[in-house]
Amino acid sequence: MGEVIVVTSGKGGVGKTTTTANLGTALATLGYKVVLVDTDIGLRNLDVVMGLENRIVYDIVDVVEGVCKIKQALIKDKRYGSLYLLPAAQTKDKTAINSEQMKQLCGELKKDFDYVLIDCPAGIEQGFKNAIAGADKAIIVATPEVSSVRDADRIIGLLEAAEMDSPKLVINRLRPDMVKRGDMMDIDDMIEILAIDLLGVVPEDETIVISTNRGEPAVTDKNSKAGEAYRNIARRITGENVPLMNLTIENGFFQKLKKLIGLRDS
């Protein structure tokens, strides 16, 4: 019996879809059987991030409405044989499915898959309720910004109310240079405020944009820092103990300057 993990954030655009795509792909490369479920009905994106948009015939709404079987709607990834996508419908809205149907669907999926990753829509309405309905665990994605952290906190509260196992935090788009000059909250600040366990930190990285352009998650790129971060997180999900990646930057202008004039870093 597999595990259903929802990737959620409250605030939009902080990297839920990116995280779902990358963790799913990384878990598949580790040999697990994985299905990614896009619950962002009406604003689906996981298909394009995975580069599978032109293979969609049926979607999640077709499945819950019984138009097709689950197997018919699952799209096999083009790179990894053990990775599948269940796409959202684009021409419907969040009310096209309900929590009970999601629970059933998740129950079915975890019979066949080791990991069921659910890409949650932004917000706390029906779409969010659907996304968490069948989940065993939750990953909260937050960027080091006031609005994102606040929304993450709200989500954590709602998950507690829904009696979900303690959620884990993924900090996304961290910029070590900004952290260094005190203009961005660091990892400790965020953990202190949100008071949940840290699952990993993903740096701001242009390879994310490039890989999204191509429809190939960054984890498939050996040279991507963000990809490496996601590979580490995937291993932590499987229970491995992987130390946090070193994100400190060297060779910035100020650093050089400081070295030159012999100032120590504070």
Partner: protein, 235 residues
């Protein structure tokens, strides 16, 4: 086309069944029966306007017509008009405007050659959409669909007949959605996410991402969907 007594056309409102006003009633009845039976399944569930073309029919004759059209063939008659003895002429004309002439009735041959309709679609009406379809928008029409604009990724066009896009097509198209394998999909710039004709579903190959620089048409040939330049397209 020679007047064989019965003409069936598609209009915005549904089918328009025109019965010749001169022929003997039994002849008309027989011709109508022949014609409907030939394309029976295609019409089942449709709505129709019956035009008697000025004929004076007896109540029993009307019953016979209704029995044939509605009870036996499942076509709902929504209105009966009688062009000949009618001062509703204006209405009839307005309706004519909405009728898409099929290639056969055109008399002067295949004037709209590139968009020539198949024989099967003789009776289909055409929906014209004068705007760009965006992600999440979906058109589902029992007939042909003509779009004067683009169709963006994430938009879907489903038609039981042909799909004609006077612009760039980047979404999902399903022509011949009720199984018509002769249906076509054509666009000024055909860059689809997915193309479906009848029961065949296709997508562009992963490697390819070149933009076409000429109008193209997709159709089924030997059980496969092929795309070719629509400049040398013929049925």
């Amino acid at each position: 086309m020679r007047n064989d007594g019965v003409t069936i056309k598609g209009t915005k409102e549904g089918l328009l069944i025109i019965l010749d006003g001169e022929l003997d009633f039994p002849v008309i009845l027989r011709k109508l029966e022949e014609k409907i039976t030939r394309v029976e399944n295609f019409f089942a569930g449709a709505q129709a306007i019956l035009d008697l073309s000025g004929r004076l029919v007896q109540p029993e004759q009307l019953e016979q017509l209704e029995h044939l059209i509605s009870s036996q063939h499942g076509i709902e008659i929504i209105r009966i008009i009688n062009q000949g003895c009618l001062d509703e002429k204006g209405e009839r004309e307005a309706m004519e405007g909405a009728i898409v002439e099929d290639g056969l009735r055109n008399g002067n041959g295949n004037r709209n050659r590139r968009v020539t309709l198949n024989e099967n679609e003789e009776q289909l009406s055409t929906l014209i959409i004068k705007r760009t379809l965006r992600s999440g928008q979906r058109v589902n029409y029992d007939g042909n669909v003509v779009i004067l604009g683009d169709v963006n990724p994430g938009a879907e066009v489903i038609a039981s007949g042909d799909i004609v896009v006077m612009g760039a097509f980047r979404g999902v198209a399903h022509a011949g959605a009720k199984g018509n394998e002769k249906a076509i999909i054509t666009a000024f710039s055909l860059q689809p996410t997915q193309l479906r004709i009848a029961n065949i579903i296709t997508r562009p190959p992963d490697e390819e991402n070149s933009e076409p620089n000429q109008p193209e048409v997709a159709k089924i040939k030997d059980g496969m969907v092929i795309i070719e330049s629509s400049l040398n397209f013929s049925n």
